[in-house]
């Protein structure tokens, strides 16, 4: 009976250094708060550092770590929604259509997570960390949006208007009028989204970087539309792997509690501080942290230590 871990902690073997429950909870909470804060300030998401932090710093088993992270990802996606709705940039149809791909991918990823060794998961995780760091510095030059409309995208209504007046490079260049956009290369975007969902389910992360890649680079959608729509999709995608995680016992209440509360509070705090934050410097620092964690995950994974 799992509930024993709370009410009769002695039923599980204590670790040798006998960290108390309170100390563990407080330390994990502040680590998660910090991760959520940096994740929201840099746009990289907090989930991506929570798993390596739990595994490498707190010596928590990979499966408990990805379970706790997945839940925190749902919380931040839902918690940030209010701000994104106000901007009016996310595209509800494009998001919903692509969620068919991400939810199917997430189910496959979560299934794989229960089959693949934790060493392999650690190595994949390390590669994704390195990619996220790289992607955060990728140029955001807007590609020519005035291409011929994609027939499939038009039939599926994968289009929208980029509102005038919102401050961004795209609108400034396009002038004050609202710009119309239509998705390009729909099958490619759909395929990448399946992969994004699979990574999310396998690693317990939001995989926002890959979702943005699918919309921004493959489907040629405006960057801000891609990032806000991606945020909306993250919660639904993660919910599709939650059932499998729950039934496998990956989501441990005692570990998930400080992680969810910490990441959620950190990311809400981050969105408040964002207008005054030195984002470029933070991004640089956070990217270095992510690269270090990524290298460590790959190293520990190949050595079989995770």
């Amino acid at each position: 009976m799992r509930k024993a871990s709370f009410d009769h902690p002695a039923e599980r073997e204590p670790v040798s250094n006998a960290m108390s429950l309170l100390w563990f909870t407080v330390m994990v909470f502040f680590t998660s708060l910090f991760a959520g804060l940096l994740g929201s300030l840099t746009g990289l998401g907090g989930g991506v550092v929570i798993v390596p932090a739990l595994v490498l710093l707190f010596k928590v088993d990979m499966r408990y770590a990805i379970g706790a992270s997945l839940v925190s990802v749902i919380a931040t996606s839902s918690g940030a929604a209010a701000a994104y709705v106000r901007d009016g940039l996310s595209n509800i149809r494009i998001g919903m259509f692509l969620e068919i791909a991400t939810t199917l991918g997430a189910m496959m990823g979560a299934y794989l997570a229960t089959r693949v060794s934790t060493h392999a998961i650690a190595i994949v995780f390390g590669i994704v960390l390195l990619y996220s760091a790289f992607a955060s510095f990728r140029g955001r030059e807007s590609v020519a949006k005035e291409t011929k409309p994609d027939a499939l995208a038009v039939r599926l209504k994968l289009e929208g208007d980029y509102p005038a007046g919102s401050v961004s490079e795209e609108t400034l260049r396009a002038g004050p009028a609202a710009t119309h956009y239509t998705a390009q290369r729909v099958p490619l975007g759909f395929g990448i989204m399946f992969g994004a969902g699979a990574l999310s389910g396998l690693l317990g992360i939001g995989s926002g970087a890959v979702k943005v890649l699918a919309m921004d680079q493959a489907m040629k959608l405006p960057f801000k539309v891609s990032t806000t729509t991606s945020n909306f999709m993250i919660g639904v995608t993660a919910a599709a792997s939650a059932g499998i995680y729950l039934s496998r016992g990956y989501i441990d209440a005692q570990i998930a509690m400080p992680v969810v509360l910490g990441v959620l509070m950190g990311s809400l705090l981050g969105s408040k501080l964002l207008p005054r934050a030195p984002v470029r410097t933070l991004k640089m620092v956070f990217a270095l942290v992510i690269v270090a964690l990524g290298v460590e995950m790959i190293y520990s994974g190949t050595k079989g230590r995770i």
């Binding site: 002695a10 010596k59 839940v71 749902i74 839902s78 009016g88 509360l261």
Partner: protein, 125 residues
């Protein structure tokens, strides 16, 4: 079509998500505070995964624990509420697109809903 705009739908969804995440966070926090009854207990060994098919994985098991205010059950209820918010979001999309008579997207969002419910029903409960 102008009856119910996309933005109105997104605003309603945004409100629901905010309420959902607040209620679940408060529930998780309440469970966390209850758990501090055992604040000085030694930490269980989390470095080894124990595959337990525990009572907490089913709704009935959780509800049973809630009655006796067990910390883990209260936290798990909060987590279940959190998982439910994006699912409610998809339900709101099905209803919203139906109001717009956008049948293509009623089908698309229903497909997402079926996938979500299948994943929970197949592996959860």
């Amino acid at each position: 079509m102008a009856l119910y705009t996309d933005h109105a739908m997104e605003t309603a969804i945004g409100k629901m998500l905010r309420v959902g995440v607040t209620v679940s966070a408060v529930t998780v926090l309440a469970g966390g505070l209850i758990s501090l009854r055992h604040a000085w207990a030694p930490l269980p060994d989390y470095s080894h995964f124990v595959r337990e098919r525990a009572s907490l994985d089913s709704a009935t098991g959780i509800l049973h624990g809630i009655k006796s205010l067990e910390a883990a059950s209260v936290i798990q209820l909060g987590i279940l509420l959190l998982i439910a918010t994006p699912i409610v979001r998809v339900v709101m999309c099905v209803a919203g697109f139906a109001r717009q008579h956008d049948w293509l997207y009623v089908i698309v969002s229903s497909a997402v809903l079926v996938i979500l419910l299948y994943s929970l029903w197949q592996h959860g409960s």
